[in-house]
């Protein structure tokens, strides 16, 4: 295979530093205009840099060409199906980009006096109110910068809540199916993880949960749960789980990565959760940007509210005939404090609020309904034919917005690992599903189509999986050596960890 190279494969990757040539430049800076003094009279010589950093020297047309060409070496959501499980790769409306770029948003300084930033604070307050209604919890902080940051916030809130009651608890329970960020956040917040097993329906194993609670009396600070969980199924025992945790004195944390399954249908607050993080870059359409930015606001119950990060956006009733006003409240004596600078990722708030306005309560409800419909349809399509045989569903029941297949029979019968299937999908023009997660499922393949894909796309994906399995019956090597058509072929990832080269060497 691959006797000839594609033009993109033939093009040798060259960094912008390697394209640099002394004397070239793009920027024209304004003149100083002021009387200039020798630099060393303004700043002592020993604090000055002997040589400027070796940034590339390159003219504007070549900068543009360099990055445009690089962009073509990326696959993106606007070009094709991206069913990456747990990532909610839904369409990114361009209206949201337009409103975020309005100077009143984009050029607003974060330290602007609240009385001259009323529109921004009102927008934040409206977003808080919307998320509060969607999550079924009365209070919201927009400050956390991402889901993992929301988790850290939630665990620090839990710590503060217990400390306020004179307790120091050390354990945090999390199912073995949980996102990797959950245990990592637990450690950062100074707690210890206690794993809880999964039952045959894909939910929390109740006996194990009871056992873990009994083994750690008065020491369980929190249970972190995703519902629907990472297997894409709703845990029917959630009310009982919540009762058990609350009875044991712990808080219940909801990883909102999968909120796109339940918007307008069921609310974490009503399920008994105390703290929820919401990934605005998942359910609320903030573009992922190739790995950020996002935002991870948290919604909390009344008992957690006093500890929320500061400052908090508040609405104050007007007086003397003035309307209500919005302010930043720093006077929060029990607050865990700041989690970051200023007020949070406001640009993300603008996009997500525009999305909420565009869809409305009815549209959000329909979005979740269609996400669940699409997932179940694709699951049904993949239960047919070769896929049904080689890639069985891990937990055979209706799913919510995503589902998990196991490539175990495929590996056993065809010698094809899940990774091989994923790489071959690249040649068919698809981004593969999430692979090897959750860890509980052997050769896992986690598929989340989202609501913004049409039936034709789902059919084409199912057909591609079928075609790959069919060709593998004849020649498994085809998939094992895939991909062939991408800008580069399989890369040596081990080397990048053993002998890391993490920057361009210059000169």
């Amino acid at each position: 295979m691959a006797l000839t190279q594609t033009p993109m494969q033939a093009e040798k990757a060259q960094t912008i530093f390697e394209k640099s040539k002394s004397g070239r430049r793009a920027a024209t800076l304004p003149a100083a205009e002021v009387p200039e003094q020798p630099l060393t009279e303004l700043i002592p010589d020993n604090l000055l840099r002997p040589e400027p950093p070796r940034l590339p020297e390159i003219a504007e047309p070549e900068i543009v060409r360099h990055y445009n060409r690089l962009s073509r070496r990326n696959f993106d959501l606007d070009s094709g199906f991206y069913p990456l499980g747990s990532c909610t790769m839904k369409h990114n409306p361009r209206l949201n980009e337009r409103v975020a770029a309005l100077p009143g948003h984009a050029r607003l300084h974060p330290a602007q006096d609240p009385k001259r930033a009323q529109g921004a604070l009102e927008l934040m307050w409206l977003l808080q109110e919307s998320l509060s209604e969607i999550c079924g919890l009365p209070h919201v902080s927009l400050q956390p910068s991402a889901g993992s940051h929301g988790e850290l916030a939630g665990l620090l809130l839990t710590r503060a809540y217990h400390a306020d009651r004179g307790e120091e608890r050390k354990k945090v329970l999390a199912p073995d199916t949980s996102h990797g960020t959950n245990p990592a956040s637990v450690t950062m917040a100074g707690f210890e993880v206690v794993k809880v097993a999964t039952n045959e329906r894909g939910g929390v194993e109740m006996d194990d949960l009871r056992a873990k609670l009994a083994e750690n009396p008065d020491d369980v600070a929190c249970l972190m749960l995703t519902n629907p969980n990472t297997l894409g199924v709703f845990d029917e025992n959630i009310a009982e789980i919540a009762a058990l945790i609350h009875e044991a004195g712990g808080t219940l944390y909801y990883d909102g990565a999968n909120l796109n399954a339940v918007m307008g249908h069921s609310r974490p607050g009503d399920m008994g959760f105390d703290i929820v993080h919401v990934n605005l870059h998942k359910s609320f359409s903030q573009p992922h940007g190739g790995g950020g930015p996002g935002a991870g606001p948290i919604a909390v119950s009344n008992r957690i509210e006093p500890f929320l990060p500061r400052p908090q956006v508040v609405r104050r009733e007007g007086s003397n005939g003035h309307g209500p006003g919005f302010d930043l409240d720093f006077d929060r004596p029990k607050s865990i404090g700041r989690l970051r600078g200023f007020q949070g990722n406001f640009g993300v708030f603008v996009r997500s609020y525009a999305y909420i306005l565009s869809l409305g309560g009815d549209g959000l409800t329909e979005a979740s309904e269609t996400a669940v419909l699409n997932a179940n349809y694709l699951k049904a399509r993949l239960a047919e034919g070769r896929a049904g045989e080689r890639l069985p569903i891990a937990f055979d029941r209706h799913c919510m917005h995503e589902f998990v297949l196991s490539g175990k029979p495929m590996k056993r019968d065809l010698g094809l690992a899940t990774l091989d299937l994923a790489k071959r999908l690249l040649d068919f023009g698809f981004h593969p599903p999430t692979v090897y997660f959750p860890l509980l499922v052997e050769e896992a393949l986690m598929v989340e189509p989202t609501e913004t894909e049409g039936k034709e796309t789902l059919d084409a994906f199912a057909d591609a999986v079928e075609a790959i399995l069919a060709e593998a019956e004849g020649d498994p090597e085809l998939a094992k050596n895939a991909p062939y058509t991408t800008p580069v072929r399989r890369l040596d990832e081990v080397r990048a960890t053993r002998r890391p080269v993490v920057r361009q060497q210059l000169d």
Partner: protein, 469 residues
């Protein structure tokens, strides 16, 4: 059907048939009945695109942004000119809409950008290793504390009061989780009190945190201050303003183990505080403890040069509770903006810009310092920001100056009660001599109007030493 979904009633019927259910309601039956919402969300119905635009434009119009108000506010985020090519390239779908590059064969563009960005930040900070980007500045500093604790097995942080208050507060928030103690060292003449710092650092100290230029704008002698950290085996963590690194000695050259900071000045708009990115650079020794994504160079099976996420064995999706950090966001799009801005400025332009800031800042400091009722808060060397003391209530002066279309600066009182009369003024290449002159005049007029009333003003807090009494 919303405008972002495609399933027609016929599609739905066919799909439900294939699933083998009669309606989507059946699919939701796995949610126990009492937990189903059973009512519409109490949110307005969806709106058309034009209506949403008008609604948000209406909100935006109620903010005084840097387009309508001349912005001398800094405090970590600055009104720099972002070149047009940044918008053009970062708005390309191929950069805007992918996820984290988990499939490197189809993510070479994004991965190479990370590699270039790491190279640029490594050059700027003078340290060999850079992460691909963290959330933003203050939390990057807190993550450096977490690294230092792991590296030294110690739990005490010594932090200069010149470090950004948001960073200090974030470090304190995180430290409660880590179980670390935070000790602050005060300022003397605008600079970290060297004797107090040396006295505070001991064999239990995990890290010493400095910032240069510090929050009051003063350029610190990091090398000299850092000696205390070296002596006791603590890590030296330096927060810096990337825009000053064309002229100021880099953290690496000053002996820092880690350099962190807020990346907004590079290619990112103000956005009322985010999204931007945090940078995190370190010595080789720390590479396996670094937080966040790192891109690395490698080869494909045919020997082509390529890029992948390197050292993933540090990360949460592999290591779970043993990960070096929980962060998985690289702020990749924001880091791309920074890389383009840096390439646009180039080696010479970046240095020239740094020098331009120093020259205009020196002028502004001299000009504003000469205004009646204004004194310099400190006389230490500055690069692009400086602190003043006003002989009138700062809030009221700011309101008066705002009426003339100028945001004069950042009031220091909330975070530095000892400088309740303090104002921090920031300069970018967008702030012209004419604007500086206008600020001087507006500040003088405002202080004159407020000054006499200072001590008798019932709304002002306790009288200040050196006030109008």
């Amino acid at each position: 059907m919303t405008r972002y979904t495609s399933a027609t009633p016929d599609d739905r019927r066919e799909m439900l048939d294939a699933i083998g259910v009669s309606s989507t309601t059946e699919l939701f039956e796995q949610i126990p009945e009492p937990l189903r919402l059973g009512r519409p969300l109490a949110l307005p119905d969806g709106m058309g695109e034009a209506e949403v635009y008008e609604r948000l434009a209406g909100l935006a119009a109620r903010n005084a942004d840097a387009e309508e108000q001349v912005c001398f506010v800094g405090a970590g985020m600055y009104d720099h000119y972002v070149p047009a090519i940044v918008d053009a390239i970062t708005s390309r779908s191929e950069f805007l809409t992918p996820y984290t590059p988990y499939q490197p064969e189809i993510s070479q563009g994004g991965l190479q950008v990370m590699f270039e960005f790491q190279t640029a930040m490594s050059e700027l900070t003078g340290l060999p290793v850079s992460s691909a980007g963290l959330y933003e500045g203050p939390s990057a500093l807190a993550s450096a504390g977490y690294l230092a604790m792991g590296a030294t097995k110690r739990k005490r942080f010594v932090v200069s009061r010149g470090v950004h208050p948001h960073s200090r507060e974030t470090l304190a928030t995180y430290s409660v989780g880590y179980g670390a103690e935070v000790v602050e060292v005060g300022l003397e003449g605008g600079l970290t009190d060297a004797a107090a710092l040396a006295a505070a650092v001991d064999g239990e100290t995990a890290a010493v945190f400095l910032q240069s230029p510090n929050f009051l704008g003063a350029v610190e002698d990091v090398e000299a201050l850092g000696a205390a950290a070296k002596e006791h085996g603590a890590l030296l963590i330096v927060a810096c303003d990337p825009m000053t690194l064309g002229i100021l000695k880099s953290p690496g050259e000053c002996g820092a183990d880690i350099a962190v900071g807020e990346g907004q000045p590079l290619g990112n708009r103000l956005d009322f505080g985010g999204p931007s990115f945090g940078f995190f650079c370190a010595t080789e020794e720390q590479i396996r403890r670094m937080p966040g994504r790192i891109a690395g160079e490698t080869e494909d099976v045919d020997g082509r040069r390529g890029f992948v996420l390197a050292l993933q064995t540090r990360e949460q999706h592999i290591r779970r509770e043993k990960a070096t950090n929980n962060i998985c966001t690289a702020q990749a799009l924001n880091a791309l903006g920074a890389m383009i801005h840096l390439a646009w400025l180039g080696r010479e332009g970046f240095r020239e810009l740094g020098e331009l800031l120093v020259q205009r800042t020196a002028y502004a400091r001299q000009r504003l310092g000469a205004v009646d009722g204004v004194t310099l808060l400190h006389e230490a060397p500055v690069a692009r920001e400086f602190a003043l003391r006003l002989d009138a209530p700062v809030g009221k002066v700011l309101d008066r100056v705002a009426e003339r279309g100028i945001a004069a600066g950042y009031p220091l009182g909330r975070e530095y009660p000892e400088f309740e009369d303090g104002l921090l003024v920031a300069i970018t290449e967008r702030r012209t001599k004419a604007q500086i002159d206008e600020l001087a005049e507006a500040l003088g007029a405002a202080i004159a109007a407020e000054g006499g009333a200072f001590l008798s003003d019932s709304e002002s807090k306790a009288p200040l030493a050196g006030g109008a009494a």
